[in-house]
């Protein structure tokens, strides 16, 4: 093991495209190829192409795979139909969030758990430990997949240009899915795109329609090039991590290490809906249950702080960690993410603020930007919602 950052299967492609690379969670990843603003706008108006191969895939199989995941995660995973996906979290026994996840049910007894790159080992270790006593296998598949995402309003049309074929056998109890049009949001099925075997998922992290394609690393370059060619006339451009962050911020999506931490429960983050206390497996027990019941009660009765959106009245940009202050200068919260928004034309932030200041429209809220108290409007999340 060396400290040198890992490179994805698309590394040479990124360098040939002139990408500015950055170390991210131990991976050398493209930050931007040209202007991050143009990349952001391309995803909102046309389409963007992302290499997300740093994400951590963990396969869980076996007769009790569903029971294990119901026990290890906070969601009702056994209730997910084959061919569908669910956003969920894995928590500590004390309720703190270890990671947020997307879980795909690939078959009756097979799931793929996708963890954040920075937490993949933590999630793998926790799942492996929690698998004790279950007839299920937890497999590290991080090296088995490259992940390419196509996001934006043109993404469906671009993919259709690559003769996509879906397996139609997996959606239980529903109509067979003949083509990509029928693939719902948060569904994922095996198939082929441009002749490459892929798990084709209609998921993403940008607030737009889009697809995530899990492929073998050796197929990544061919698929990237096919998508680039197919998307050329539709305005598809390669996009880096920088615009991914402003896209997800506008869409009000939390980021691990910012809005979500081990010091935060799903209820503190305003995401209590992902916690399902009514589970039918394991007598309803799951890791963190008691602590999360208490957190749910606290969030209902007397929440200490709430996650809100802030929109700048001026142009100075809030950054993670900056204090949120009331008009008398009292610190009432902290920014967790902040960036200039290309879509709204103003700086935005997500912040945890004292519940008394969390109501949209609350007057007198400011962010302390290096000593200057800049006025901010408190708003409900998300900042941006696409027109469907």
């Amino acid at each position: 093991m060396t400290d040198a950052p890992r490179r994805t299967a698309l590394d040479a492609t990124h360098r040939a495209l002139g990408a500015t690379m950055t170390d991210f969670a131990g991976w050398d990843m493209p930050l931007r190829y040209g202007s991050e603003r143009e990349e952001h706008v391309a995803v909102r108006t046309h389409a963007g192409l992302f290499d997300l191969s740093h994400m951590g895939e963990i396969t869980v199989t076996g007769p009790q795979a569903a029971d294990l995941l119901d026990y290890a995660l906070v969601g009702n995973i056994g209730g997910v139909k084959a061919g569908r996906a669910r956003y969920t979290m894995i928590c500590e026994p004390g309720g703190g969030i270890l990671d947020d996840l997307i879980v795909y049910r690939l078959a009756e007894q097979e799931y793929m758990v996708v963890a954040n790159a920075s937490n993949a080992q933590v999630v793998l270790d926790a799942l492996t430990e929690r698998a004790g006593g279950f007839d299920a296998e937890v497999r590290d598949d991080r090296d088995a997949y490259a992940l390419i995402a196509v996001q934006g309003p043109e993404s469906l049309g671009i993919l259709k240009g690559l003769s996509p074929k879906l397996s139609t056998s997996l959606e239980e109890g529903g109509a067979p899915i003949a083509d990509l049009d029928g693939l719902k949001y948060y569904a994922g099925l095996p198939g082929t795109v441009a002749g490459v075997h892929a798990l084709i998922a209609r998921t993403g992290y940008t607030g737009e329609d889009g697809f995530e394609l899990f492929v073998r690393p050796e197929d990544a370059v061919a698929l990237w090039e096919a998508l680039t060619a197919a998307g050329k006339d539709a305005g598809l451009i390669p996009c880096g991590l920088s615009c991914r962050d402003t896209l997800r911020l506008e869409a009000g999506m939390p980021l691990y290490g910012h809005e979500l931490t081990t010091g935060t429960t799903p209820f503190d983050a305003g995401l209590g809906r992902v916690v399902k206390f009514e589970k039918t497996t394991n007598n309803g027990d799951f890791v963190g249950r008691a602590a999360l019941e208490a957190a749910a009660e606290r969030a209902e009765a007397s929440p200490p702080r709430k996650l809100v959106g802030l929109i700048a009245e001026g142009r100075r940009v809030p950054r993670a960690g900056y204090p949120v202050v009331a008009s008398d200068g009292t610190v009432i919260g902290e920014v967790t993410s902040g960036a200039p928004s290309p879509t709204l034309g103003k700086p935005l932030a997500m912040a945890y603020v004292d519940a008394a200041y969390a109501t949209p429209g609350t007057e007198g809220v400011a962010v302390d930007i290096r000593g200057s108290h800049e006025p901010y409007e408190v708003v409900a999340l998300p900042f941006y919602k696409r027109q469907k």
């Binding site: 202007s35 991050e36 603003r37 962050d245 142009r315 100075r316 940009v317 950054r319 960036a339 200039p340």
Partner: protein, 125 residues
Amino acid sequence: MDNPQQLRYSKEHEWLSAAEDGVSTVGITEHAANALGDVVFVQLPEVGATITAGETCGELESTKSVSDLYSPVSGEVTAVNEDVVSDPSLVNTAPFEDGWLFKVKVSGEPGELLSADEYTAFAAG
């Protein structure tokens, strides 16, 4: 990238034009603009302010970061580029031209400045 020969450069990646009637123009280099990414906000010194070589006199915000702006020379600010205040992307698109930041009436010798060739080597370093 080409760093214009007629300019001098600081190690903080500012450029300084030769003085005309004692007034020099200051901006940041293309190297610095590229490293910052899209600049979205600039805070410049006020006209009439006295600035000191090597000290901060403003801020540049990009999508992902904020950087201090250092003055490469001491003197009095005689003008600021209002175009770049209203459209900070000029710093990215034309750092040596329309993206200039402020003009300064030079009152003393500048700090340690580099020639174009020296700066090119420094920035590559």
